[in-house]
């Protein structure tokens, strides 16, 4: 029976739903229930949220530090683990310098953990080699919106969904990836809000609206430029807003002058008529909101795609007001927070530039330590440098890049090339298998801290359980490691002290305290001495850069088009049952039962041409790799396009994906590559990648 009910925040996506953990007399997690009056989730949870206890209670939890000797792991004491790591790190730094070590922190960990990680990197290891998975989700958002608007975060709030006239969902599948927010969109649409979906696949939301622009992969900019062409030609733009709040409109008008809807029909696959209808609907709506996701960012044109969306919103003045804005749907529970905390190689907490002398002095003084000066490496930069032997030690927690990063074989061989790989995790992952030392991590239910959701709401996470076995929270083991290396810089007594130090150095968080966050069911940044109650809508009076900028961008073809050898385009998608690498959701027998371990969505017409039946075993090959999985025949993908979720370590789509990168942010083009699909012999079950590569 339930003895205690602990309020906390769901550990899955960036929506940040309110969850209660039911704890029994023995201090075990029994089950969860939604917080009835949570400002966002209002008594709802998604399938992932409901299945939380399976992820936490699993018998597969790592409960003590492990050391790998050859291919086997042996339990060791924390002291031995810390001594080993500290010695290795020190000797590598002494020998090869601080630029050869680094940290990949986690968008699933708390703000406190992330703050500690970047401080550890910068002040203890003396390197800016600190990054996390935002690199492969929303780094183009941070870079693109920063240029256009001056701030790279969701401009509006989830509640605005019920206070708008039109919702434009661009390259996002919110009912699957941000289910509760997707549900809000369904609800608003049912109540009369217009809904336009732009997506190469027929998503759940696309099925609910007559306005679906089923564009070809990677043609976002062409489409948006054509929308802008129509809006400008028909004089549907917001003259007052443009003249008072923006700059560069004339150049943009000139830039899109010849990009007619007809001229982009063949690139986008969207009819000129539908482009005109969309342009009219969006520009003429009194209030219109844009939501977007990986269908915008995971391209070589990622940053420019984001800029393009900003151009669209700015031209119609759909920003800075209720029910408007450019709203990136952040993937992980705390990816916004991990970025805010400065777990990026180029910025300190609060996006204060690492290259700026003033910021360097500020942090160096505050921390009372010399800090790294040299610019740092991104996560992909670190794996690349490891490959070439220029990078030797990596500490990593709460991420599984072997499954989630592009070009799996490259990632694996790079990590194997390291002299020291330390992974802190809840359960064994594909990445952890390569580690020299594995540290047992505490789950979200076992720690205090804060998560920042996609609408910039900082929410309190409350400890409900004792850490499993010898597990530690991330900032706690970083603290212990710092001490072992002779540094007292991470000597906080509790999470609140970490938060307070962070808030004192991060302008947007400056007026936040744990108490205030709890009292207000979260606070949205900027929460400053001027705006102590937080800010639900950004850019109401002005932009951080003064006037917002229209920036002219051009269509860029995807890096790897189809050809005779690889005649189908592969895109990646997510299933609402699973989250990231599946290390948590796949512990639920219910969610695990829903799909086979890996699948490929293929149009029935393509399937028939290849003699592939529903659930049949197939192989998929790209220039980089080969996997086997099962085919799911579905009209949700158009002819010529196949789609694969990336959750499954048995059939990882990242064996196949392209590493071509966005030049600005190094975001890989995960959304498009060329593949060949072939049926396997009937009755022959698909081999896992581990079997194919002769492991185990």
């Amino acid at each position: 029976m339930c003895a205690d009910l602990v309020k906390t925040i769901c550990p899955f996506c960036g929506v940040g739903c309110g969850m209660c953990l039911k704890i029994n007399e023995q201090g075990q997690l029994l089950s969860v229930e939604p917080q009835q009056n949570h400002p966002i989730s209002q008594g709802k949870l998604c399938e992932k949220g409901w299945s939380t206890p399976y992820a936490i209670n699993t018998n597969e939890r790592i409960t003590q530090p492990l050391k790998r000797i050859n291919k086997k792991f042996y339990p060791i004491s924390w002291q031995e683990a810390l001594t080993t790591i500290a010695c290795e790190l020190t000797s590598i730094i002494d020998e090869s310098g601080s630029q050869t070590v680094g940290i990949i922190s986690s968008a699933r960990a708390s703000n406190e953990d992330n703050y500690a990680a970047q401080k550890f990197a910068r002040a203890v290891l003396k390197t800016n080699n600190i990054d996390h998975c935002a690199r492969i989700c929303h780094s183009p958002t941070v870079a693109g919106l920063k240029q256009s608007l001056g701030s790279g975060a969701m401009t509006n709030s989830a509640k605005d969904i019920f206070d708008t006239d039109l919702i434009l969902v661009f390259g996002a599948d919110p009912t699957e990836n941000h289910s509760i927010l997707g549900g809000h969109i369904m609800q608003a649409h049912a109540q009369g809000t217009e809904l336009i979906v732009v997506d190469p696949r027929v998503t759940r939301l696309a099925k609910l609206t007559s306005m679906h622009l089923q564009l070809k992969l990677g043609s976002n900019i062409a489409l948006i430029n054509a929308l802008l062409h129509v809006i400008i030609k028909e004089q549907w733009f917001d003259k007052n807003f443009i003249s008072s709040r923006t700059q560069g409109f004339e150049q943009l008008a000139l830039h899109v002058k010849d990009i007619t809807p007809e001229s982009v029909e063949s690139i986008t696959g969207v009819s000129a008529e539908l482009i005109r209808t969309t342009a009219r609907a969006y520009s003429q709506a009194k209030r219109a909101m844009i939501f977007y996701g990986m269908g915008i960012t995971q391209y070589v044109s990622g940053t420019n795609n984001v800029i393009s969306l900003a151009n669209l919103a700015l031209s119609c003045g759909h920003i800075g007001k209720v029910g408007t804005g450019v709203n990136p749907l952040r993937g992980q529970n705390n990816v916004q927070g991990a970025c805010d905390m400065g777990c990026l190689p180029n910025v300190f907490p609060g996006y204060q530039g690492v290259a700026e002398l003033e910021s360097q002095e500020k942090f160096s003084n505050a921390w009372g330590a010399k800090i790294a000066q040299q610019p740092g490496l991104t996560s992909l930069g670190m794996t690349k440098a490891a490959q070439s032997g220029d990078f030797h030690a990596l500490l990593l927690f709460g991420e599984d890049p072997v499954v989630t990063d592009p070009d799996q074989n490259h990632v694996k061989s790079s990590l194997k090339n390291l002299d020291l790989l330390v992974v802190a995790e809840l359960t064994m992952t594909e990445t952890a298998k390569l580690a020299d030392i594995i540290l047992p991590a505490a789950s979200f239910a076992e720690k205090d801290g804060t998560f920042t959701n996609c609408e910039r709401r900082v929410q309190k996470v409350n400890q409900a359980l004792a850490p499993r076995g010898e597990a530690k929270g991330d900032w706690q083991w970083l603290q212990a490691l710092a001490k072992q290396m002779g540094s007292q810089l991470l000597n906080w007594q509790n999470s609140e002290e970490v938060f307070n130090e962070m808030a004192s150095l991060t302008p947007d968080y400056q007026a936040m305290t744990y108490q205030k966050i709890s009292d207000n069911s979260g606070l949205q940044w900027p929460c400053t001495f001027d705006a102590p109650e937080g800010t639900s809508i950004l850019h109401q009076q002005s932009f951080p850069i003064g006037r917002a900028r229209f920036i002219c961008v051009n269509h860029v073809d995807i890096d790897e088009p189809i050809d005779d050898l690889f005649p189908l385009l592969l895109t990646t998608n997510r299933l609402h049952f699973h989250y990231g690498c599946g290390s948590m959701t796949r512990k639920s027998p219910l969610l695990e039962r829903e799909t086979p371990p890996g699948l490929l969505f293929i149009n029935p017409i393509d399937a028939q041409a290849l003699d592939i039946t529903h659930q049949a075993p197939v192989s998929i090959k790209s220039r980089r790799g080969y996997v086997e999985t099962r085919a799911m025949l579905s009209d949700d993908v158009p002819v010529g396009l196949v789609a694969m979720p990336y959750h499954f370590k048995e059939a990882p789509s990242n064996q196949l994906t392209n590493t071509a990168q966005d030049p600005v942010t190094k975001m890989p083009e995960l959304k498009a590559c060329a593949v060949a699909v072939t049926p396997l012999a009937k009755g022959q079950p698909p081999k896992t990648i581990q079997q194919l590569q002769g492991e185990q």
Binding site: S31, Q36, C46, G183, M186, R204, E594
Partner: protein, 339 residues
């Protein structure tokens, strides 16, 4: 049946606490209502508010081991709870317990807990936000067969205490209670009648139930509705009458021995995998079929015949928790307008 007057509810709580663990619905600062254990030291005031989670997990545990094989022999896992009382359960949830009593009649795990429980019901004298218990004959007044003791709030802070079973009569023995005049029962009926009148017009639900049973609703309607079903299991988890479960073996291996546990856990008929067979054959692979089945289980005539009532008790939890906006009220309205 005996009826008593009680000035101070605390006396009854304290009396029951002598021989029972006592659980009661508590509301926290944010309005979250949940069943919480109460102690002799301090009883929270009794509130007629629907807890987010119903009482079903007191009897039908969300996860439980049905047996354990410890490497040598099988161990019994039947629960042996201390006697406990659910103090102030509302009529909808009590009706649901009666419903599940039938479903789990021969389930020893359920019954082991159920038999140790004393049910003290609390009449609702005001409609709740999503509720429609009168429409499905589940409230607002506590049904006699569904509780051992019924509490009814009177004016002047007094309580009417009605014992409706031997277990109930036994439980109040030794407590100084004054016998109440029968006319107070009439007064209770009037108050409950008035409460029923105060519910919003829910005839669309009755009409939709008729339509659902008429066989007129096309498959395409259910398919359209099912686009909005995310398969989250929220409705079935919170529904007080839902009882689907699955089992799995969990093996815990150590150097010394291998322990195998057979675990039962709550399942949901809205999952695609719920009815899928190993061959991939699935009689309900279509989401529309699953959504249709769910609502037939709640309102279909065939189930009414079996259980002598609807499978829905009118609590409205599914409406609040469904991310896809296809809870009871939304669906019933759409059956009327679109089906």
């Amino acid at each position: 049946m005996e009826i008593y007057l009680l000035d101070n509810l605390d006396l009854l709580q304290q009396h029951l606490l002598i021989q029972h663990q006592l659980y009661q619905v508590i509301e926290d600062d944010n309005g979250q209502c949940s069943w919480q254990q109460q102690t002799k030291e301090g009883n929270a005031p009794l509130i007629a508010k629907l807890p987010q989670s119903s009482a079903k997990d007191f009897f039908f545990a969300e996860h439980e081991n049905l047996l354990i094989f410890n490497g040598e022999y099988f161990q019994e896992t039947l629960p042996k709870p201390a006697p406990f009382v659910l103090f102030g359960a509302l009529s909808c949830d009590l009706t649901a317990i009666s419903y599940q009593d039938k479903f789990f009649k021969d389930d020893p795990y359920y019954q082991a807990r159920r038999q140790h429980c004393l049910l003290v019901g609390l009449d609702c004298v005001r409609p709740c936000q999503q509720g429609f218990c009168p429409t499905v004959d589940a409230g607002p007044g506590v049904r006699e067969q569904s509780a051992d003791i019924i509490l009814h709030p009177l004016e002047n802070q007094q309580w009417l205490v009605i014992t409706t079973s031997d277990k109930g009569s036994e439980a109040v023995k030794g407590l100084a209670l004054s016998v109440a005049h029968w006319h107070l029962l009439t007064q209770r009926d009037l108050v409950l009648h008035q409460c029923e009148q105060d519910f919003p017009d829910n005839t669309y639900i009755t009409q939709a139930i008729d339509k659902l049973n008429s066989g007129e609703i096309k498959d395409s309607f259910w398919q359209q509705l099912a686009v909005q079903c995310l398969g989250c299991s929220g409705c079935t988890t919170l529904c007080p009458t839902c009882s689907c479960y699955s089992t799995r073996s969990i093996t815990v291996e150590s150097e010394q021995k291998k322990v195998i546990k057979q675990q039962r856990f709550w399942d949901s008929c809205l999952y695609e995998g719920f009815q899928r067979e190993a061959s991939f054959h699935n009689p309900s692979s279509d989401a529309g079929k699953r959504v249709q089945r769910f609502w037939h289980h709640k309102f279909g005539n065939e189930f009414f015949t079996e259980f002598n009532r609807h499978g829905c008790v009118g609590c409205g939890r599914c409406e609040q928790t469904c991310p896809g906006v296809i809870g009871i009220h939304s669906v019933m309205k759409r059956i009327n307008s679109d089906a």
